[in-house]
Homo-oligomer: 366 residues x 2
Amino acid sequence: MKSADIPAQDAREREVLDRIDRARRARARVREERVTLAHGSGGKATHTLIEAIFLEAFRNPLLEELDDAAQLRLGDAGVALTTDSFVVSPLFFPGGNIGDLAVNGTVNDLAVSGAVPRYLSAGFILEEGFPIADLNRIVASMAAAAREAGVEIVTGDTKVVQRGKADGCYINTAGVGVPRRPPGALSLASARAGDAVLVSGPIGEHGITIMLARGGLDLEADLVSDTASVAGLVAGLLEAVPGVRAMRDATRGGVATVLNELAMAAEVSVVLDEGAVPVRPEVRGACELLGIDPLYVACEGRIVVVVDGDQAQDALAALRAHPLGEQAAVIGRVAADPPGLVLLSTAFGGTRIVDMLVGDPLPRIC
Amino acid sequence: MKSADIPAQDAREREVLDRIDRARRARARVREERVTLAHGSGGKATHTLIEAIFLEAFRNPLLEELDDAAQLRLGDAGVALTTDSFVVSPLFFPGGNIGDLAVNGTVNDLAVSGAVPRYLSAGFILEEGFPIADLNRIVASMAAAAREAGVEIVTGDTKVVQRGKADGCYINTAGVGVPRRPPGALSLASARAGDAVLVSGPIGEHGITIMLARGGLDLEADLVSDTASVAGLVAGLLEAVPGVRAMRDATRGGVATVLNELAMAAEVSVVLDEGAVPVRPEVRGACELLGIDPLYVACEGRIVVVVDGDQAQDALAALRAHPLGEQAAVIGRVAADPPGLVLLSTAFGGTRIVDMLVGDPLPRIC
């Protein structure tokens, strides 16, 4: 990877960058008349929906942070609050099921926001006819995942809808935690040129596992979902490395989407080294067959870390000290120009723009 | 209403009471192999599901309280946490839609737990093809309801499922608030003989409005849902009346289910005066045609209050001082015997047992 920033190289390229920039700065507007699967992808369409509809209606400074967890004051205390609904299909897959996914997903949103995850709520929407035995398995997995992550499920709700009005079982979890750092101390917007970008392990295993579990693909691979609580991994990192700027779990939209959010929030560029991104051969092979880029494939137990460049090796060591981070890697760096873009230095010495996820190649992966 | 307790009057009656008591004390077990609509009714089947599956797996003291909101300690602060998913059908109905319902429902769970509602999360599950215009209307109603209740929606999530895998739009809200009283100070279990039972207004309007909005009934009535935030109503009551023992919003399962929960939690009986329960003529008429008892029909802006009998009139005055409580009424009293049962003194001078809701005459009312 070159150490200098990568400038736009000619007028045509500059024009393209300007066009991208103008499009991004335009007021978000949902052009579709109806909701599409892409609106749930976590990528570009989801961002437009959030900005044009939810932010517009609910406008308040806490929501506008668009962080994985909102940083609240309640009485004298700081509290982090987050929520996620889970609609993964199939409900059971190698390495987990919707239950542990729902616990880990919310635990991880709290953890990467810098909070110690403490308590979860659980809301179930069940389809009439759903097997009680399956519900028992799901709930047992939730209990095990909660124990593993050190959280308690303290309140809940159950709704049942008629046959054909859901797909077995949907779960919402919300979670609260105690912030380790003051509000704003960890934020994608605080990234600056010279920072290093790390990932805590091989990417895309969850998304590809789900894809394969759906069948219909003439493809077998020895893969399991990476679903896991990253609470312990994050705790170790934050204790060891004062210069952590921000963390995100790379779920829907994958690492590429997290880095685009980073580039836009901090008005910097991110330069990725393609060869440094850890991807298991099975994931790479499946991605090639499916024609998708592993950078867009969801993980459910991997985090992206932005850290002061001088502390990159400390961060790497801290991540690798945890079982979940043994294959952590420095995958890129933050540069000043061109602001708002993620660039990939390919193995062939070229550079290409890695945009946000468009469309949704893998709906309902979480 | 007679002032003495109502004892079992003969051996046969005692035998029936004993049988009910044994059945209730038996370890909860879900006998069905598959989820039924009754499991989402809020009544008996829901309780069995919660006790046999969720409590069994997640067992912890906070969850076992089974209150509308869990009372947590986070660092030095007390925090109330609650959640509800909303699957009401139709999504739009006279007096509201799923959006304000989802905000008010969670605000009310916090309020009746004795907390000041502060922040909400919102998780959307949208069906592919759902009109963006409808989503905008729903979100605008959520924003208006949040303003009215004095809360902010600070974090959220959106998932999209394929056509036929949902019914337009499901919403989960979770909420946090600041407790006004120490944990346990307000609890159904603290009710004792001599306490008064009040309701804040006419019952069953929400449930019957939804039923009529579904069409298919050759019945029209000038009814709107009672969906509203009770946060202000509750604040006034708690300020004026130190002897409030417990409050509940009478949603799924209606007033009858709340009172059964009370009777079981406090091991007391509740004696209701049928003539004192406020029910609008339109609701009474519809209930008669449908063959259902208004005591089981959901409200979304009415609360049941248990208060020291000496302060019943103060509580009544405090409720009536608020626009939502103008038709509040004392509807019954708590007695020592027979423990665990709700009895109704009918207009004809008889007494009958009001059990928990069995089955689900009105699925998906919230």
